[in-house]
């Protein structure tokens, strides 16, 4: 299978495969964009249709290898959208850009659905330009989000966060340059990534308290804001975030504490929650809950160790992305801007 060999070559070269673990979705997104940049430059393709097929085949392989990384899947969709956009722009220079802009146009449109098979001059260059532009956007996304920090964190506030998120850390550190406030970190058992966050924050001279997950509700009454990261933003504005986030969000709802979610646009997924068990969650090894060396006990009990929680959109107050702040109800709009409807199935 020479075709597959070629994709293998790209995947090995971009060392994407090192990101099999759950964390580091930003790095995955960057690696995937680089991968497709190489693919577009080095592979032989004539029409946009060829390229779309190429990206889809390689993408499927990638998704199979990195089942935990939704940002990889998002980036593949984004790349497809870029190709489609550039093609449409080149073909219909004079026509209006977005055909799906209004319902009226969709109904009255008599044009056949384009199958992207026309040969277009300089398509490659324009696609590469667009990808580079997108790459820049990705690289500045953390910076853009942290810029918002001083608008949301005020002097002597108490902020609560959970687990470990690079963007939340950067956000809090940025705010600490200008204001004095306190942070409470939930340890996020059983993996206890919260410990790392607490250490990192206290090293930057932010007054930090580490609490157990069981005391979330007890302490919520004193908290002014909850600021969390997420693994994925679902299509309805819900979150697929680290296990324990749901209880934080529920406690915040009870005490009417605003929940602010920091997420780059690359985390926006076109998936909906269908079932908690199937394809949504990852149940990792029970080891961190019950040790294998406990012996006989392990065969007598069922241990579940889920990685993620689903947080429904009504518990989220605000998303802060690199494009600014959005309410959860606005996510569907972002989705239709960022991804093409034909790419929902890879």
């Amino acid at each position: 299978m020479p075709r597959v060999k070629i994709y293998q070559f790209y995947l090995i070269k971009t060392s994407i495969l090192n990101y099999r673990e759950v964390d580091g979705s930003y790095n995955v997104a960057v690696a995937v964009v680089n991968l497709f940049k190489n693919l577009v430059t080095q592979e032989k393709w004539n029409t946009a249709k060829d390229l779309i097929n190429l990206i889809k085949t390689c993408g499927k392989l990638l998704v199979k290898e990195l089942p935990l990384q939704t940002s990889a899947e998002n980036m593949i969709r984004r790349m497809l959208k870029i190709v489609r956009d550039e093609y449409t722009t080149a073909c219909h220079e004079q026509e209006e850009l977005d055909i799906q802009e209004s319902l009226h146009k969709i109904v009255t449109s008599e044009e056949e659905i384009d199958d992207y098979s026309k040969t277009v001059a300089e398509l490659k260059d324009s696609i590469l330009d667009h990808i580079s532009e997108f790459h820049m956007e990705l690289e500045t996304s953390i910076e853009n989000i942290t810029k918002e920090a001083i608008k949301h964190i005020h002097t002597s506030e108490i902020i609560l966060t959970i687990g470990k998120s690079a963007i939340v850390e950067a956000f809090l550190k940025e705010a600490a340059k200008h204001r004095k406030f306190e942070v409470i970190v939930c340890e996020c058992s059983p993996l206890n990534y919260g410990h790392n966050t607490a250490i990192s924050l206290s090293q930057s001279k932010i007054p930090t308290t580490l609490i157990t997950d069981s005391s979330i509700f007890g302490i919520m009454g004193r908290v002014h804001k909850v600021i969390i990261g997420t693994h994925t933003v679902m299509a309805n504005g819900g979150l697929r975030a680290v296990c324990g986030t749901h209880s934080v969000a529920l406690a915040a709802k009870y005490y009417s504490v605003p929940v602010i979610v920091l997420a780059g646009l690359y985390k926006l997924s076109s998936q909906y929650l269908i079932s908690h068990e199937d394809k949504f969650n990852q149940f990792i090894s029970p080891e961190s809950v019950l040790k294998y060396s406990e012996g006989i006990l392990t065969s007598l009990v069922h241990v579940y160790n889920p990685t993620f929680d689903y947080v429904p959109p009504e518990l989220v107050t605000l998303f802060i992305s690199n494009a600014g702040g959005h309410a959860p109800s606005y996510v569907y709009r972002l989705l239709s801007e960022m991804y093409h409807q034909d790419d929902n199935d890879l």
């Binding site: 592979e43 029970p286 012996g295 241990v303």
Partner: protein
């Protein structure tokens, strides 16, 4: 860019990094026939609906390994065919063939001849299931190598705690503060012998018996030549032992690494292990190598994994279930703790519990399957009952309403020359392995789980006794412990009217546990049977006679099983001396006992007569007079039979 240039690029890349790549050698053969009736090729044995070879490769793919060398000595074409449509991104697969290998040691010697090993490599067998990354361990190996140039191997052990006796962790390892193994001892008894001089050389020694040895090692490139130099090494254990015995000559050291936490590893050595590892996979200890991630099953509560399975009305699912794609379950099927392969058809009202059903199996209405393994493309017809330990080889058709138990069946088409064939029904034969020890392993399948619940207390007892076992106070020697165990089993068997076959199994397992010789077994069996006490306080002569008679009758199958030849008969006669002749009451009925054994063809005339000559020369117990009438009768009987001839 065409594929050719890509390949060239790939090659140039590997040339640059040749020094740093991690190689893994996978031995795709176990050199025994443990799983023979169900699958003739170990690498292609399905475990939770995936071949063992696929587990190994999937693991190595995520374990930081770059090049995999699969070493096969049989079924080469099947393995190559299987590999042809697989895609693994991180690893480069090579298949090496050497037909004349009959042991693990042979493989290592062949590996030395092929000269494919460039650097430190990972050595494992295809039946090892794991999920961890080798890179940090190899880093560790290399740091040790800087200080100790003689390091040849680093064996990996998994910490399993000392409550799990079911994993075959019968060894003790002692290592020093640098993790260098200073003593390795396969344990047959609960006693530990540790040479003092070895320990005294070290500042710090850790002795452990709560580990599992999966036969997995990081080896330096010096290992294959060492196997070539020492042609008697057959296994990794031989190698480790050889390192200690010839420490001065060989000049190599062996280190160990204890795997903890999320690092799972186990070896599928026999059917009980097969069952345990299956459960571990289903319970996700092997994460991320679990059916829902690698095979796109859907995972739901109670560890149920499904993929395109069709259910009809009234189906009930218990827990710990995997059902492969396109399998159809008809009405009112009940499944619990079982693995069902792809494309199976399960009929109405079938009950499947604690069983393994491979691909393309058809099970007709109203059958019951418990604790069994059903090979691929089998057909179990209506109303069959398969209880405990049934293993059906591939393509077996089981007639309607068969009831089988503790048996391995194969079809004619898959029979090979090593099997003796006993016809069971049309086209279906009883599988008997030529190697009796293997047969015993096979027959133990799935029994484990039944005991597991009941024996929780006894297992933890073992654990605690184990922790103090290093103290030397243990007056009973192995033979005595064995004798006591036999007495226990027999008394229980006699009271609860258990089947003699099961008792034989129990006796055999205690025999191997305490490493008792055949002669001692023969002697102790009869001694134990005769020593079982009566319940009554003061029995009359008649009651004693009845008791002894019924005991002997009940245990005849056991005696038949053990006392098969003249030597065995000679072994067991001293038991009569020791038990019967030392008790006054039993002494008087001794002729009856011997006559019974003679009637049942357990003892032959010649043996009895020569034995009688021996004891009458030096009559310690005054039994000559009691036995004389019987001997006379025996002589007459012999003459009569001679005359009639």
């Amino acid at each position: 860019m065409n594929s050719k240039t890509v390949n060239e690029k790939l090659h140039s890349k590997t040339n640059v990094e040749k020094e740093n790549i991690i190689q893994a050698v996978v031995v795709a053969d176990s050199f025994n026939k443990t799983f023979a009736p169900a699958s003739h090729c170990l690498a292609l044995l399905p475990l939770v609906n995936k071949k063992l070879l696929d587990y190994t490769l999937e693991w190595l793919n995520i374990a930081g390994v770059n090049e995999v060398i699969i070493f096969c000595s049989s079924h080469v074409n099947e393995i190559k065919q299987h590999l042809s449509d697989k895609v693994y991104l991180s690893i480069d697969i090579k298949v090496l063939v050497s037909e004349g290998c009959y042991s693990f040691g042979d493989v290592m010697r062949a590996l030395d001849r092929y000269a494919v090993i460039r650097n430190t490599f990972v050595l494992l067998s295809v039946d090892v299931i794991g999920n961890f990354n080798f890179v940090p361990i190899i880093e560790k190996f290399k740091t040790i190598q800087k200080n100790d140039k003689e390091i040849s191997m680093m064996t990996l052990f998994k910490e399993i705690g000392n409550q799990r006796t079911d994993l075959g962790n019968n060894f003790i390892v002692a290592y020093n503060s640098e993790n260098r193994i200073i003593h390795y001892h396969v344990q047959n008894s609960r006693n530990l012998e540790l040479p003092l001089d070895v320990v005294l050389e070290q500042d710090f020694v850790e002795i452990r018996n709560d580990l599992l040895n999966p036969g997995l090692a990081i080896c330096s490139d010096a290992v294959p030549p060492l196997f070539s130099d020492n042609f008697d090494f057959q296994t990794i254990n031989d190698f480790i032992r050889g390192m200690f015995m010839n420490e001065e000559i060989i000049q190599s050291t062996v280190y160990c690494e204890i795997l903890k936490g999320n690092n799972y590893v186990a070896k599928v050595t026999n059917w009980p292990m097969y069952q345990i590892v299956s459960q571990d996979i289903v319970r996700r200890w092997t994460y991320p190598i679990v059916p829902d991630i690698s095979e796109k099953y859907s995972y739901s509560k109670n560890s149920i994994y499904l993929k395109n399975a069709t259910f009809s009305q009234g189906c009930r699912l218990g827990s710990d279930i995997v059902i492969g794609s396109d399998t159809k379950l008809k009405k009112n099927v009940y499944v619990h703790n079982s693995i069902i392969g792809c494309n199976c058809l399960i009929g109405n009202d079938v009950i499947i519990e604690n069983s393994f059903i491979f691909d393309n199996v058809k099970i007709d209405d109203n059958s019951v399957i418990r604790y069994s393994v059903i090979g691929h493309k089998c057909h179990v017809k209506k109303k069959c009952v398969l209880e405990k330990n049934c293993i059906l080889g591939p393509l077996v058709t089981l007639n309607a309403e068969s009831k089988i138990n503790n048996i391995a069946l194969i079809s004619k088409t898959s029979s090979s020359s090593i099997c003796k064939l006993t016809s069971f029904s049309d086209g279906c034969y009883v599988y008997e392995n030529s190697d009796s020890e293997d047969e015993e392993i096979a027959s133990l399948v799935c029994e484990q789980k039944i005991h597991e619940n009941n024996e929780l207390s006894s297992a933890s007892e073992w654990g605690s006794s184990c922790s103090v076992s290093s103290s030397p106070i243990n007056l009973l020697d192995d033979v005595n412990i064995f004798y006591n165990e036999v007495i226990d089993s027999l008394t229980r068997g006699y009271e609860d009217k258990l089947k003699c076959e099961n008792l034989i199994l129990e006796i055999n397992s205690s025999r191997y546990a305490y490493n008792v010789t055949v002669n001692e077994v023969n002697y102790n069996i009869l001694r134990a049977i005769l020593s079982i006490q009566m319940n009554q306080e003061k029995p009359t002569m008649k009651e004693i006679l009845q008791h002894v008679d019924s005991k002997l009758k009940y245990f005849t199958p056991i005696l038949r099983n053990y006392i098969k030849n003249e030597e065995a008969q000679r072994d067991c006669l001293p038991a009569i001396e020791d038990v019967v002749f030392t008790s006054d009451k039993l002494k008087t009925i001794s002729p009856k006992i011997i006559q019974f054994l003679y009637d049942k063809d357990i003892l032959s005339e010649e043996i009895i007569l020569s034995w009688f000559d021996d004891i009458s020369k030096n009559d310690v117990h005054n039994v000559k007079n009691i036995l004389i009438p019987f001997i006379k009768w025996l002589n007459e009987a012999e003459e009569e039979s001679d005359e009639s001839d």
